[in-house]
Symmetry: C2
Subunit: 557 residues, 2 copies
């Protein structure tokens, strides 16, 4: 039986974080330690890097997720290690996992096998406290809103139209929909409200898009927190909230440095939802890594239709980043599921199903390349994969003018990504990248949605109710028309129907709602049910998580 | 104009936390750093100290608080520095301040003037994340309760009798009373609920009374979270929650080490409410300090009627601590207010009022000594105090067989507490301490309440409704009769009427409610309105808190 992730992680000998920093020439006093193996890179040091040239930026994205898994984070870590193995100074940039979901389903979000970031327990729990800081900054703003209404409501909030909810880093369905301020006059004016999980906070998205503390504060001020009875927006700055919120975030904003199992540097910083937000680690972490490393490997949430698109059209556009190459991760098992195979039959060879499922991979690959970013496919090998199945993928990818490389980093670490690393370097050194976002800022909001849906999703049309269209027009006319779109749809299909695997075409995309994230600077187009506060399962992982007699965590992974 | 606290703090040159630890012979690798000036002392190191002898324990308590202030934390810090100044190896043990209230009223809780603990901004905000950890552990338990009900309610919760509320470290009156689980079947069964501030969580009290992780987990399991329809208690362990909660608290439980402005060691760890809980820093911090220092100065919340009594009867009783001396802090201004002077007239000399107000000091001093703890009075000097006023206090204290010492640590640091430190050492070295709690474990709960009220508060009787008496009898008969009492009454008077200054006598104490804190192991007797979720004022401090152009926090203090 192979070792579990936690067993492998525990066998590793971690290097002091100062030594990891030294690999990127970060001086010891520029690392604020959080215990021996975690550090925050100081902002003063980061500011001094501005004039340095950037390293190369490589995005790791994936095919449409299935229950079979594709291993995007694992591949990001494996590629980072692989690049180091072949002599490149490389760092990975990943999202911080959310604490709450750890107590629902077993399993962390720090890679797996021999391609992990460590210390994994810390990373999956409180880490350096960033999410706690974001949560409390969010809830301070919420408290200031109700406090303002309580003391006279000078700004004229319509209490039915307070759009700023509260947050908690916990899977707690009981808080999705609540009524607050009950209990009489000392407690305020009752109104409907609810909690989202912290990763769904607009502050998380702002945190990950801000370039420094000034930009962060400016963006916090632009958050629309509610409306007056005549529907005029009220902003966070009208409540004089941004200064305090920035104070709560001032330490969190420094990027976190940890290490891979092979002792290579990993920045793990910020983790917004990939549906109602853009699903990428912080711009600050990516920019810092680019100044310090020759190669920076980063990931985006969900499949390339959501993750890579938002990485390109929101993060790279806003931060002026130029990705030099992309890796599209696939597994034979996931491709089989896209080819119609049920989960219980994945262990059997099925070349035809793989071939059929490659329609999904092919569209993602074409999409990524349509942004002017050269791409390679990584087949994240599983023990049951057969040579014939892998050969089919190689052929399909070759016909699309790219290459597919089989990786075995889960089992072998960087040895298993050496070839992938070589291909990525060759691709980057070919200098063929000519990144451009999919659409221009000045394209109208509605057209942006149509462009994404038809060019990338294979949809033939976009639909929306009159009220939604009116809302889009209103945003267009009130100064928000230049913002990019953040699509919120199911991650399980190119369409809005999670059951449509492969590469569905000629479907119709219905926009059910639009939301303005004025501080994050995007307009969210919601297509389908989006859950922003998860629940716990019948038997939550919390039931079996505990400390063993040596004080080690059991049951979390 | 004298310098502000924040100006003084910023002028200080902090020593690396390893150097502070070295003063207590803590090896560098036993300190988990949180940036350069904060550290957690590792539990492995603490475990190895068990066989060492204890240092001397000195409690700093105070007269009944008034708006004029008495400076208990400042005096604790000043005394710690004074003891170091006269050549004793001393450490202070303080409570961690709560983040939420910083955004309401201006002002921190890390001492003042030249008697502060630093870095003060960090200590007052996220610090090392302990309160965030406690908050999320609390809310995990809450989520598990509603999740249990959602999935079938096997344990038979009566949803009207869920006693475990939720918490947030924020002054947010809108959350005091809410209805949760609205929105239909996917969100559960609607019920009344509410949020308290984190410091009011029973987990905070447990955290501060636990002696190690095993004891912590055991206590977490004993928390009563609700009742069945036939009023059988349901415990946290019935929900299999304690293991996960302990995992969330495993780092927080290590005591935090920082420094005073004079570079002496300060442990700041845990901070429970001083009304519905016992208001003292963690037992673990105090015990660790006692193993490492020759003198440990610690404080308790509010006046000695609440703070010192709970320190003695709850913390010392449970942890087996033997306080060797106590300091009762008073100011001339506060004594004047107890003597009937209005706040605006405090600047004028008024010897008669001081004399009259000394009735309050006298009773506190007698009370403290009744526990077998020798005591000295510290007059925390203010610039308007006159010699005649101070002489009155000296006389009153002398007649009670103790000494009063004038201190000027706010303005002068340890130079201003040198005499106090000498007196404390003399008192400790006299060996006259013979600490014993006020009552025995096996005294019935009702009699414990009467004993506290009549012996310490000057009450002539204790009253309670039949329902309250029944509840006390029920607790007595169901195995909780051996627990100590945690009195929750106004801190502004010996009586339950906050307007009765001085030393009111022959008043009646009415117990309105009793609550069981089974994990913390005390029974709370609530006498008056106790607010467990504060609100923000009309113009909250949050409006003016911000980062200046150099990234420093403005407006917080």
């Amino acid at each position: 039986m192979p070792k579990s992730d936690i067993e492998i992680a525990r066998e590793a000998t971690l290097q002091p974080i100062a030594e990891i920093g030294a690999k990127l020439d970060i001086p010891q006093d520029a690392i604020l330690q959080y215990g021996p193996y975690k550090g925050k890179v100081s902002f003063d040091f980061i500011k001094g890097l501005a004039d340095r040239p950037n390293g190369k930026l490589v995005l790791v994205t994936a095919i449409t997720p299935t229950p079979a898994g594709e291993g995007k984070t694992t591949t990001s870590v494996g590629l980072g290690d692989g690049l180091n193995r072949i002599g490149k100074r490389a760092a990975v940039c990943l999202r911080e996992p959310s604490l709450g979901p750890c107590f629902g389903m077993k399993g962390g979000a720090a890679g797996g096998g021999y391609a992990q970031v460590v210390p994994m327990e810390d990373i999956n729990l409180h880490f350096t406290g960033d999410f706690h800081a974001i949560g409390i900054a969010h809830n301070l703003l919420a408290a200031l809103i109700d406090n303002h209404i309580y003391w006279g409501n000078e700004l004229g909030f319509d209490s039915r139209r307070v759009s700023w909810r509260r947050v908690m880093d916990m899977n707690d369905r009981a808080l999705r929909s609540i009524v607050t301020s009950l209990g009489g006059t000392p407690n305020g004016f009752p109104r409907e409200d609810g909690f989202d999980i912290v990763v769904a906070s607009e502050i998380m998205a702002i945190f990950c898009l801000a370039t420094d503390l000034e930009d962060l504060t400016e963006r916090l001020g632009k958050i629309v927190v509610g409306y007056t009875r005549d529907r005029k927006p009220i902003l966070a700055r009208d409540l004089k909230a941004p200064g305090s919120m920035a104070v709560l975030l001032k330490d969190a904003i420094s990027p976190n440095l940890v290490q891979t199992l092979e002792g290579n540097p990993a920045f793990i910083h910020g983790g917004p939802f990939a549906n109602i937000a853009h699903g990428c680690n912080s711009v600050i972490a990516t920019q810092t890594a680019l100044k310090l490393a020759d190669y920076v490997v980063t990931e985006a949430g969900f499949g390339a239709d959501l993750g890579a698109e938002k990485f390109f059209d929101i993060k790279c556009r806003k931060a002026g980043l130029k990705p030099n190459a992309a890796v599209v991760v696939a597994t034979i098992r996931a491709l089989k599921m896209h080819g119609g195979v049920a989960k219980e039959d994945l262990g059997k060879e099925n070349v035809e199903a793989v071939k059929k499922g490659c329609s999904n991979l092919a569209r993602h690959l074409r999409n990524v390349k349509s942004f002017g970013v050269p791409a390679v496919v990584a087949i994240n090998r599983f023990i049951t994969d057969t040579d014939a199945e892998m050969e089919v993928v190689r052929q399909v990818v070759k016909e699309l003018g790219s290459e597919a490389v089989v990786c075995s980093h889960w089992a072998e670490g960087s040895k298993g990504t050496e070839e992938l690393a070589q291909k990525v370097v060759a691709l980057v050194e070919s200098g063929t990248d000519q990144f451009a976002p999919l659409y221009d800022d000045d394209m109208p909001l509605w057209d942006k949605i149509e462009t994404i849906a038809t060019n990338l999703y294979g949809a033939s049309e976009v639909q929306a109710d009159k009220s939604v269209r009116n809302r889009i027009r209103e945003l267009q006319e009130t100064g928000y028309g230049h913002l990019p779109i953040c699509m919120a749809k199911t991650q399980y299909s190119f369409s809005t129907d999670p059951n449509l695997k492969g590469a569905p075409a000629h479907h119709s995309l219905t926009v059910r709602e639009v939301r303005l994230s004025a501080g994050a600077e995007f307009v969210v187009a919601i297509c389908g049910d989006i859950m922003t506060m998860p629940g716990l399962p019948r038997v939550p992982a919390a039931n079996s998580i505990h400390l063993d007699s040596e004080g080690r965590i059991e049951g979390l992974f």
